[in-house]
């Protein structure tokens, strides 16, 4: 197992957000993390990346226990985060954004700009002058440049134009074909279901359902996802 999250409990100050989340991602697997708003998807991701470390439970990545690890160390183990809201470094150019965190591997500047040709055109432009979709591509590119073993996409297509969404989903499918392990949070079920190998559903800070996408019954969808 590449990523193993078991029974984590995470707090923001005194208020508890996660009450026992279990989640696994295998090498080369695409796992969809689902649930309605406020159920703990982003908190789970923040816990994995150790931006908000859990107070109880265990997270291991590639067999290494992440407890008491600082965020940059976790990232160095090979967790590449594409944060919600496409957070690039606004006053760096596209190229600077990409190389700032680059580590050796198959994802080089050339490989990333091949995946997102739009970034090649915008190489010397500042990130804050890009469109939302381009910023999202840049955020994904930046995560890829760290050559992660697992890439985490938090709401990667939220608030983007349909054309851009289409491009981003195409790039996610390309990554899957290349055997990249992905943990993805998204609300577009129609795009998510064909890509996902497995689904995990959160409800009020707990894992309530894990299984194959085709086993996701009408009943489960109605109860936990409201779709």
């Amino acid at each position: 197992m590449l990523l193993e999250v078991s029974a984590i409990e995470t707090f923001y100050g005194p208020s508890q957000a996660l009450f026992g989340v279990d989640l696994t991602v295998d090498e080369g697997e695409v796992v969809a993390l689902m649930g309605r708003n406020g159920m703990g998807k982003s908190t789970t991701i923040r816990s994995i990346c150790r931006l908000t470390p859990p107070r109880a439970g265990r997270i291991s990545f590639g067999g290494v226990d992440l407890s008491s690890m600082r965020p940059h160390k976790a990232a160095r183990l090979g967790i590449g985060l594409v944060p919600e809201g496409r957070r690039c470094f606004p006053n760096l150019t596209v190229e600077e954004n990409l190389v700032a965190a680059a580590r050796k591997g198959k994802w080089t500047l050339e490989a990333v700009t091949q995946l997102f040709p739009r970034l090649a055109e915008r190489r010397t432009q500042f990130a804050n002058s890009l469109s939302g979709g381009e910023q999202q591509m840049l955020a994904i590119g930046r995560a890829l440049m760290t050559n992660p073993r697992l890439i985490i996409l938090d709401e990667a297509t939220e608030g983007l134009a349909p054309v851009i969404r289409h491009d981003i989903w195409a790039s996610i499918r390309t990554l899957k074909q290349e055997g990249q392990s992905i943990l993805v949070v998204d609300k577009t079920m129609s795009e998510l279901m064909p890509v996902a190998d497995r689904c995990t559903i959160l409800e009020k800070g707990r894992t309530v359902w894990t299984g194959l996408p085709q086993d996701l019954s009408e009943d489960v969808r109605n109860t936990y996802l409201g779709v």
Binding site: P71, H72, A75, R76, G80, F89, A100
Partner: protein
């Protein structure tokens, strides 16, 4: 943006030529005073380039860079005094009047102190960082005052300007050229580093340290390296400043000096390559011309600074070349 960059390159080139041509003309006209004025500009610009690393690129407001400036100055003063009096140091080391050795000593000494100060102060941020860097600089200031072996409050004189192979350093224009060439080398180094991966990470750490950590780069280490480089450059400028005045005193270490360096950068343009150069030229000109009119020239400097902060946040470079990075 491309156009901005080209314009900035032109402005930079103009400043570089101006700073070189003015003292050359003054020297030909037999006005060594103006050569000395230009030398001060070059040295203060160099000191501010050091600070620009952490302040401009890293967004870290160090209010203690006088510490490095003074340490560089004292390195020059102490080594020269020992050489002049032929008093060896312990462990068989001797003093020297060779600038190259003195610069090396200034770089090493200020680098070590920057490492120690950085290790503690970079764990804080914002106003605490400002205060802790100020506190360290004040500690060194009071140490220098209370150290009678090297002049204490009265400072330390360098009787003969230190030597540089093949150059008569007593000639004002020759000494200016040494300072000018060093400034240009350090500016080239600054430009290279700013455009490198390290420079990108340093600026990313300013914009969002958490985001940088989440892509696997530790902001603390990047900042520490920048802080050490920054302290070393300012230390080098201190050694030159000591040689220019042939005098070192605790005033080089005082918090006024730290403030002056920050003012230079803001006047010229924070984070801009030639910001410190533009700032130093402006500052010395204000000091000279306003100072010639009134004793209270700093009041007017204050008003000008206020105007820059309110209306021209990119400083002089921002006015001439347009805003690029800093909004």
């Amino acid at each position: 943006m491309r156009q901005h960059l080209r314009r900035e390159t032109l402005v930079n080139a103009g400043l570089a030529v101006l700073l070189l041509a003015a003292p050359a003309i003054a020297a030909m006209a037999g006005e060594p005073f103006y050569v000395t004025l230009a030398t001060r500009m070059a040295i203060l610009a160099l000191a501010a380039v050091g600070l620009n690393f952490v302040l401009g690129l890293g967004g870290l407001v160090s209010f203690g860079h006088a510490a490095f400036f003074g340490i560089g100055g004292y390195a020059a003063g102490i080594l020269a005094t020992h050489a002049f009096n032929q008093e060896p140091f312990p462990f068989g080391l001797s003093g020297t009047n060779q600038m190259l050795v003195i610069w090396l000593a200034a770089l090493i000494a200020s680098g070590i102190v920057a490492l120690l100060i950085g290790l503690v102060s970079l764990r804080t941020s914002g106003v605490y960082f400002i205060m802790i860097t100020l506190a360290f600089a004040q500690m060194i200031y009071y140490f220098a005052i209370s150290w009678p072996a090297y002049g204490g409050e009265d400072g330390l004189s360098i009787y003969v300007r230190n030597a540089f192979p093949g150059v008569n350093t007593l000639d004002p224009l020759s000494f200016f050229l040494i300072c000018y060439v060093l400034l240009m080398i350090v500016l080239a180094f600054f430009a290279t580093l700013r455009n490198s991966r390290f420079g990108a990470a340093l600026q990313a750490a300013r914009q969002n340290p958490v985001r940088l950590a989440s892509v696997g780069v530790e902001p603390f280490r990047i900042r520490l390296v920048a802080f050490v480089i920054s302290g070393m450059i300012t230390g080098l400028a201190g050694a030159l400043f000591a040689d220019l005045n042939r005098f070192v005193s605790p005033s080089m270490l005082s918090w006024h000096m730290s403030g002056e360096l920050i003012v230079l950068i803001i006047l010229g343009g924070t984070g801009r390559l030639f910001g410190p150069v533009a700032g130093a030229i402006l500052y010395i000109l204000f000091e000279y011309f306003l100072g010639g009119i009134t004793e209270r020239w700093q009041l007017f400097l204050g008003l000008i600074l206020l105007a820059v902060v309110l209306f021209a946040r990119g400083g002089l470079i921002g006015l001439l070349a347009g805003k690029v990075r800093h909004d």
